[in-house]
């Protein structure tokens, strides 16, 4: 996967093909994609539970408060998807993944603000 491009006689670090090609791999790529999805999932879950009371009540019944459950579910989604993507050796152009994550943060945050303005 990561091939050696250059090795000097000294102990200077070696640059890999993956690094020079701008590709993110391993946990950084896997959890980058899972963070993107988890952020969008967070907004979606906020919309759905706010619009559908039985879900809100169900979430509250699990931990004593819907917000506690919401946070735990978000973290579980982030970790589970991250491990899944890592297991599948997910890799992606780092700039594209960063843009995707930035887009998710803007859409997710904007979506939350817009929802609570309108509702």
């Amino acid at each position: 996967m990561s091939t050696t491009m250059d090795r000097t006689a000294s102990s200077r670090p070696v640059t890999t093909a993956t690094e020079t090609a701008g590709v993110l791999d391993g946990a950084a790529a896997a959890f980058g994609m899972s963070a993107t999805i988890a952020i969008l999932f967070n907004t979606l879950l906020a919309w759905v539970k706010d619009a559908y009371d039985p879900l809100n009540s169900f979430m509250a019944s699990l931990t004593g408060h819907h917000w506690r459950t919401h946070g735990i579910v978000d973290v579980v989604v982030f970790v589970a998807l991250g491990y899944l993507f890592m297991h599948r050796a997910f890799r992606m152009n780092g700039m594209k993944l960063a843009a995707l994550l930035a887009g998710a943060v803007i859409a997710g945050g904007g979506g939350l603000a817009l929802w609570f303005v309108l509702v």
Binding site: P13, T15, T16, E19, G22, V23, L24, A27, A28, F31, G32, A35, A38, I39, N42, T43, A46, D50, G64, H65, W67, R68, H70, G71, D74, V75, F78, G82, N93, G94, M95, L97, A98, L101, A102, V105, G108, G109, L112, A113, F116, V117
Partner: protein
């Protein structure tokens, strides 16, 4: 005890924001020499934001209900209906970013332009979201104050 938790929550939030600024600057000047420092700074972001989550979450779910009732009876009900509702869910975005930051910061940023860019993007959004959330917290607090002023509670002004 309630007040200590209430003040510790934004304090750790601010410390997390400062640590994210630190990560951004270190990543901007990434070299082999500061790689370890970047990893520690990224870990500091995670620890501070997680502590802000746990402390804020405890206070919100245990102590907030009476303040919510006060805000809703006051002249700024939107301090809860919009600000708190948005803030409580928006918080999970920097939380996820803060959990992710040390993972991508573990890459050799001096050699890996893509990882460096990702670290800077994540740190930037922790800062921007963090500032928005801190601001929202101040407005929610003011929502309680204006409610007391509105009802003529002594000392509120």
């Amino acid at each position: 005890m309630s007040d200590i938790i209430l003040f510790a929550h934004p304090t750790f939030g601010v410390l997390g924001i400062l640590a994210a600024v630190w990560v951004f600057v270190e990543a901007l000047n990434a070299s082999e020499a500061n790689q370890t420092r970047i990893r520690y700074a990224a870990l500091a972001v995670t620890i501070c934001i997680v502590l802000a989550w746990v402390l804020g979450g405890y206070w919100y779910t245990v102590y907030y209900a009476p303040e919510k009732a006060i805000i809703l009876k006051g002249p700024w009900p939107w301090a809860h209906n919009f600000m708190m509702e948005t803030k409580e869910h928006l918080f999970f975005i920097p939380l996820i970013l803060a959990l992710y930051l040390p993972i991508v910061a573990a890459k050799r940023l001096a050699m890996n332009k893509a990882a460096r860019m990702m670290v800077m993007v994540v740190a930037t959004f922790v800062v921007l979201n963090g500032l928005a959330i801190e601001g929202a917290g101040a407005i929610i607090n003011y929502g309680v104050k204006v409610a007391f002023v509105h009802t003529g509670t002594k000392g509120a002004e």
